[in-house]
């Protein structure tokens, strides 16, 4: 299976990736801006994400909420999301509405500011605060995804602070901040546009040039602070949180090489061997045999600057304390480090990843998003077609060596959640 890929560069710096495919009359338009929470300045945590909300509040020729309405009226789906190092906006529509999506994205890239008002900002601030309550504050273990980077990245590092932000910082955000952020980061030369699905390439490229071509290049983005990090954490960092939960959960994280590096594929396979699906080492040892956990998992954060994180997680069975749970996770990691793995374990992980990859590529939206990802982070969307080969190149010996080097006691961060009542009793 090869995904067709064709790239173009506009004079204003916009990088365009086209991936033509006519199996259904569907087209996906996907725009990545190379800006995320890492670019926020002190006292403005959460701003990149709040800004993402403002991009749905209209532009010079689009009314508030009209962006959603126009796309839905066309029979399209749409959304946006913010991450540490990028923000994306995407719509999937019946293919005869391609120009609508391109026009809407160009409208807000070129002419957002005339539509910004204090009232809209106040409303979206309220919406985002409710998003924070919903996904973080009122959700068991919900603070994990701001506590873990706070633990695993040093305080001055741009990945250290909260993506969703604090209420105080959200309160402080002003229309001036909106304007400054927009002018700095929402420029064609800081963006990648991907179109995937049913379109005529010449016609699509002409439409892209027509709508995005006149938008002026930006004045350049300010350099991020030095993001480089030592290869390992340099110790075993720990944090324990008392929370409104019924049973403990442990996150065990390791600093690993950045997304896209050769070693990142080994890290991905290590994670899959330890925590992907029910045949993984942790599921077998903690859920099936030991019955100390009800669920286990593994993931990476796809960070392309400084260092990435490989994160294992396990949720305790009732009656199992956090110490025993963590010990069982560490035992699984140590077994991998000391004994290595048979080839079959690697083959299992590669086979699962390959099937996931091919099934995911059925969706135009997912193809477009992955192409934007590789274009943004690695400057080369063609890397998408090398993914499976790169995973296949990982060997059992490579896994064992990686686990020994990157998963030892000098490179661990444990974030533990315990029920509030249990914490009180233990004190």
């Amino acid at each position: 299976m090869r995904i067709p890929i064709d790239t173009h560069l506009l004079d204003n710096g916009l990088r365009v990736t086209l991936s033509e495919d006519h199996r259904a009359p569907i087209v996906a338009v996907n725009l990545w801006y190379h800006v995320g929470s890492a670019n926020e300045r002190t006292g403005r945590t959460g701003f990149a994400h709040l800004f993402e909300h403002m991009l749905f509040q209209g532009s010079e020729h689009v009314g508030a909420n009209e962006h959603f309405e126009l796309v839905q009226r066309a029979g399209g789906m749409l959304n946006g999301s913010t991450w540490l190092d990028r923000t994306n906006y995407f719509e999937t529509l019946p293919s005869h509405h391609l120009e609508l999506a391109l026009w809407l994205e160009a409208e807000r890239m070129g002419r957002l500011l005339p539509a910004m008002t204090q009232e809209k900002l106040d409303t979206q601030r309220g919406v985002v605060m409710n998003e924070r309550r919903w996904s973080v504050d009122n959700q068991p273990y919900g603070t994990w995804w701001e506590r873990l980077p706070a633990l695993a990245f040093p305080p001055e590092h741009p990945f250290h602070h909260s993506l969703i932000g604090s209420f105080a910082d959200l309160e402080a955000a002003s229309l001036d901040d909106i304007s400054e952020f927009f002018r700095t980061y929402y420029t064609p030369d800081n963006a990648v546009l991907t179109i995937a699905g049913d379109f005529d390439p010449a016609q699509a490229l002409a439409l892209v040039r027509r709508h995005f071509g006149p938008i002026p290049r930006g004045r350049g983005t300010p350099p991020l602070p030095d993001m480089s990090l030592p290869p390992r954490l340099g110790g075993w960092l720990r944090s324990t949180v008392e929370d409104e939960v019924m049973v403990p959960r442990v996150y065990l994280a390791f600093r690993v090489p950045v997304f896209g590096s050769a070693a990142s594929y080994v890290a991905g396979i290590c994670g899959a061997i330890l925590g992907m699906r029910r045949g993984s080492l942790m599921h077998r040892a903690l859920v099936r045999e030991g019955q100390v956990a009800s669920a286990v998992g593994a993931s990476t954060w796809d960070l392309a600057k400084g260092a990435d994180l490989l994160v294992l997680d396990a949720t305790a069975r009732p009656g199992v304390d956090a110490g025993r749970l963590e010990q069982a996770m560490v035992t699984a990691v140590e077994r991998l480090r000391q004994d290595g793995v048979p080839d079959a374990e690697v083959a299992r992980a590669v086979a699962l990843i390959e099937t996931d990859f091919v099934t995911t590529m059925q969706s135009a939206s997912d193809r477009a998003d992955k192409l934007s990802l590789f274009a943004t982070y690695l400057g080369d969307p063609h890397r998408l077609n090398e993914e499976v080969e790169r995973y296949r190149a990982v060997t059992a010996a490579g896994v064992a060596a990686f686990a020994r080097e990157q998963m030892g006691e000098d490179n661990r961060a444990t974030l533990t959640f315990v029920p509030r009542a249990a914490a009180a009793e233990a004190a």
């Binding site: 010079e60 009226r73 399209g76 709508h211 409104e244 099936r288 699962l352 099937t355």
Partner: protein, 470 residues
Amino acid sequence: MSGEAAGPPPATGARPAPGPVRPYQFPRFERRTLVNGMRLLLAPMHALPVVTVHVLLDAGATRDPAGREGVALLAAELLAEGTRRLDGAALVDRFEQLGTALATGADWDSAWCESTVLGPRLDALLTLLADVVRAPAFAPREVDRLAAQRQAELLEQRAEPRSLADDMFARFAYAPRARFAVPAGGSEASVRSIGRDDIVAFHARHVAPASTTVVIAGDVTSDEAERLVTARFGGWSPAGSMGVAPGPGTPAPDAEAPGGRAVHVVAKPDAPQSEVRVGHVAIPRAHPDWLRVHVMNAILGGLFSSRINLNLRERHAYTYGAFSTVDARRNAGTFDVSTAVERAVTAPAVGEILQELSRMQEAPVRADELSLATDYLEGVFPIRFETTEAVAGALANLAIFGLADDYYDGYRARVRALSIDEVWQAARTHLRPAAAQVVVVGDAAAIRAPLESLGLGPVHVWDATGEPAG
């Protein structure tokens, strides 16, 4: 294309006109039946080398014996935990070496085993699936482990406001002893009462060739798919006794709670946000008004640009999102509005929701509201079926709900034909704000009095285990 542009950029806000509509057809599929009575639904899709197999069993949670609620789900989950030939760990390994995971589960109306593989592995997959369905081990150790897992899930849920709100809403929307008042996966008491014998008996009674439909969507021809399925399932002999009658005095699974509108606060002390559910028992999936209700619901709360979301999110900033759904079941599922709002605005948000329900009944929707919903549902239709999994799921729904074979082919035309009057009629007939149950998981101390002052009906307070709490 070397030219710089196809024309000047639009100087005004003129919306680009759509191009010519390109044709779309839901994937062609065939029905076949094996000699033993097992049915096949086969949809060849050759775009990518993947194929999904969805084994559908007429063994959903409405088949649970009274007092043993949760058997159907446990039985389905246990299918993935070992056969008479392969223990749980070995079975999982076989699937995962094929690059796939076996997903099994059960909802109200069916149980299923589903797996997606790269095309050349289809025969190996069907060999495993036949073993899973025909010869499960139900090993005592695995039965005990999965029952304990379900108990752990119920315990964890006490601190998880969203699923707690969903379960509590079902409990108060349906009559106390109705099957739908208890979660599909069972309660702490019912799961405690389930033994291995119950699981074995349930499987023997409900899983047989005549109650099984194998759906295959993906990179394989219908003839080849039939040949492979016949080789693996053809020797399965008809057995089991189908159907189950509820015992005397047992209410229908979808019997509605008596007593009219009430407010139920489920106490979660200090919660910064309230999880809100407002709704009532709705209509079965096969009801002739289903599509009208579905479109009416899209306008009311089904879309991002719906009345309820624009009101609660974009006008009031009470919430990150507010949506309404009508649950598809063979019996009557629920209609409910679901949102999470800041603690201090809980009562006003509930008031706005009930007002939106009433507004839907008081006057017909505007033409542009109806066209937004119908244009969306019509246009998005092909996007819903890009993957083999989605097509297999859609075909499974034909079997579960007894829909006609041309259901998907005619869907967009039927949506387009709906009138304002039909939607209004659906709202007046099938929305019942005066009979709604309001469930709020939140900080009872802060929200009880404001909710009482709305005057919606009696306000009850419960703890997270469902016991009265003041």
